[in-house]
């Protein structure tokens, strides 16, 4: 089995701004041809990381390798990497065609060749014939596609996308997510996608890296990240979770470390229900019930801690005679609990 090629390798990468550590000694490997997301809240360092890969910032320490080549002191115009910016950064004084052709123009590609490739690109992003327009005449979604075309026309080895869908409304965003994924699969270029929206990352990515306060908390496939979060932050950032710690954890597990249990893994039972042997059960009081259509969400208080339970409505409804304030029992299998490090 051949090893997969590494498109981007970061070793001990740091970026400090005075006393502020925007990025604190990051190690990361992105595989060739994958759709890789960098996920995290604002200020977590994901955008800084992207800008370091693009070349807009210089690292304080550490190395950046693009396809095996050290590039820390190579300026952005000499790296085989292109970026789609959050505000699209289209050149307002040029037409769409000139914008898209820009990368070819500065490298002195012949005019006829440029025109051909611009046409191809515009077709690919589904904006045929838009070449003559100016950016000010386009909608947000259209501008975004022009920015994409402009970046892809150069056949970069890696495409960086800095929260490109942030400014679009929900429907458009979901459409674009599907389109971007399709384009990536078709072209086969490595995509590195920065977002703060965990659902977006989960939808589109082959693998995700979760950033927090300048460090990477965990890297993995969406399945791995959701099912096996390593830290409390990841558990709470991706989807929702309940955290069992302190006294309650000691009662269940014998030690007072922190454990995560997903809401959908918990079953809400009446106080007198039978409980399987390998399960945890806790007695509590129902505080809130919300019907969400496909799911029903309940909030249950157990000894002062609050648990969120989600059950398919088809299951919950018939069983539900429970009023707010009624006693109940929470049941879940031990194996579904995940230990959290450094909580």
């Amino acid at each position: 089995m051949t090893a997969r090629a590494i498109a981007v390798r970061l070793r001990g990468l740091s970026r400090h701004f005075g006393d502020v550590k925007a990025l604190d000694s990051i190690d990361l490997e992105v595989n060739d041809g994958e759709f890789f997301s960098m996920l995290g809240p604002s200020g977590s360092g994901k955008t800084t990381c992207l800008r370091l890969i693009a070349g807009f910032e210089q690292p304080t320490t550490g190395t950046i390798e693009l396809h095996g080549q050290q590039v820390a002191d190579v300026p952005p115009y000499e790296r085989d990497v292109n970026t789609v910016f959050q505000d699209y950064a289209l050149f307002p004084h040029m037409t769409v065609a000139d914008n898209v052709a820009y990368g070819l123009m500065v490298r002195r590609v012949a005019k006829s060749e440029r025109e051909k490739r611009v046409r191809e690109m515009l077709d690919m992003v589904r904006l045929p014939g838009f070449g003559g327009r100016k950016p000010s005449q386009l909608s947000g979604g259209q501008r975004q596609r022009v920015a994409l075309a402009r970046a892809l026309i150069n056949h970069p080895k890696v495409l960086l996308l800095d929260e490109p869908l942030g400014a679009l409304d929900l429907k458009l965003r979901q459409e674009m997510q599907v389109e971007l994924k399709a384009i990536q699969r078709e072209i086969g270029i490595t995509f590195i996608f920065v977002t703060h929206d965990q659902e977006e990352a989960m939808t589109m990515s082959d693998r995700i890296a979760v950033f927090n306060h300048g460090k990477i908390e965990q890297v993995g496939t969406p399945y791995e990240m959701y099912e096996n979060p390593h830290t409390r932050f990841v558990a709470e950032f991706i989807g929702t979770t309940n955290v069992v710690e302190g006294e309650m954890a000691r009662t269940i597990h014998g030690k007072s470390a922190a454990y995560a249990i997903r809401p959908e893994r918990i079953v809400l039972c009446p106080p007198d229900a039978d409980v399987p042997l390998d399960s945890v059960y806790l007695t509590g009081v129902i505080r809130d019930v919300t019907y969400l259509g496909m799911m029903t969400r309940c909030t249950v208080e157990v000894n002062g801690s609050v648990f969120t339970v989600i059950e398919p409505s088809a299951q919950a409804r018939p069983a539900f005679g429970y009023a707010i304030g009624a006693a109940c029992v929470l049941v879940w299998k031990r194996e579904h609990m995940r230990p959290l490090e450094g909580a």
């Binding site: 210089q58 002191d73 300026p75 000499e78």
Partner: protein
């Protein structure tokens, strides 16, 4: 070449230095250097005998400033500057107020143009225009005659100190021209300050029972004050240093600017001229500090 450019990209501070090198050198040499030379000059003195400048440290020139004749010049200029500032503030306010509060966007654009247009026309020509207007046979006299106010005009001209043979040759005339020339500099900051007063404030005042005059006094005026102070910086400073208007609407009467011109010219007394120039610098320095305390810089 590529490598040089790449180096500069990776080292933004070096690039910065390179960009600033030429202009900073120019400014430091020609401007800062000149200012220092001037201050140094003010600490020299003139040898009465030979008429040459003695390049030795002395405060003689500054002492000369306090001689009655020279001190008189400073006082005169200060009084004029103060009078001009007050008058400009009063005259500019209604216009600025209307522009900020009542004018629609289109009208405001036109008004703005109306205020800027004179500012953009030649300064010298505008001063000269007033010489024509104020002349004894000019527009003002003719207007006074038509309105039967010639008596008033003559009375003004007969006043001591500010009167004179003709409006175009008197302190009162200079006062009018000064106010006219610097007026736009007062209108704009006041307008800017007033625009920053949200309408909701005056509405709240009215809602709470404040009558119009009260609201104006207690709400609008205090909020406009920083703008007035900002405008006054210009009117005061510009009047302090001007010699053109006194020499056109007068006989190169004794103002700071004219004194400077006189002493550096034929009199060859550069040290004294320099000392005179330091006066407005010091005054404006103090004025700016005061203005900053009063919040004028936010209104600029």
């Amino acid at each position: 070449m590529r490598r040089a450019v790449n180096f500069l990209y990776a080292h933004p501070n070096a690039a910065l230095l390179l960009l600033l090198l030429l202009p900073m050198a120019w400014l430091v040499i020609f401007y800062l250097g000149s200012l220092s030379a001037m201050v140094v000059q003010s600490f020299y003195s003139l040898d009465d005998f030979s008429g040459r400048v003695i390049p030795e440290f002395s405060v003689f020139s500054y002492q000369e400033l306090f001689s009655p004749a020279n001190f008189d010049v400073v006082l005169r200029t200060l009084s004029m500057a103060a009078a001009v500032t007050l008058a400009s503030a009063v005259i500019a306010f209604p216009l600025a107020y209307f522009m900020a509060r009542y004018a629609s966007a289109r009208i405001k654009g036109l008004l703005f143009l109306g205020v800027m247009l004179p500012l953009w026309s030649s300064y010298l020509v505008r001063v000269y225009a007033w010489k024509l207007i104020l002349a004894n046979e000019g527009m003002i006299s003719w207007g006074a005659e038509q309105l039967g106010l010639t008596g008033v005009l003559n009375w003004i001209l007969s006043l001591p100190v500010i009167g004179g043979p003709s409006l175009s040759f008197s302190y009162f005339g200079m006062f009018i021209v000064f106010v006219y020339i610097w007026l736009p500099y007062m209108v704009l900051p006041i307008n800017a300050a007033l625009e920053r007063v949200p309408k909701s404030l005056t509405e709240a005042s009215a809602d709470l029972g404040g009558r119009p005059r009260y609201t104006f006094r207690k709400v609008v005026l205090p909020l406009a004050f920083p703008g007035i102070v900002a405008g006054s910086i210009f009117t005061f400073s510009l009047t302090l240093g001007d010699y053109i208007i006194p020499s056109i609407i007068g006989d190169s009467a004794r103002f700071i600017g004219s004194a400077v011109l006189l002493y550096q010219g034929t009199a060859g007394n550069l040290p004294l001229a320099a000392a005179f120039t330091v006066v407005p610098i010091v005054i404006m320095g103090a004025y700016l500090l005061l203005a900053r305390r009063l919040g004028a810089f936010d209104a600029l």
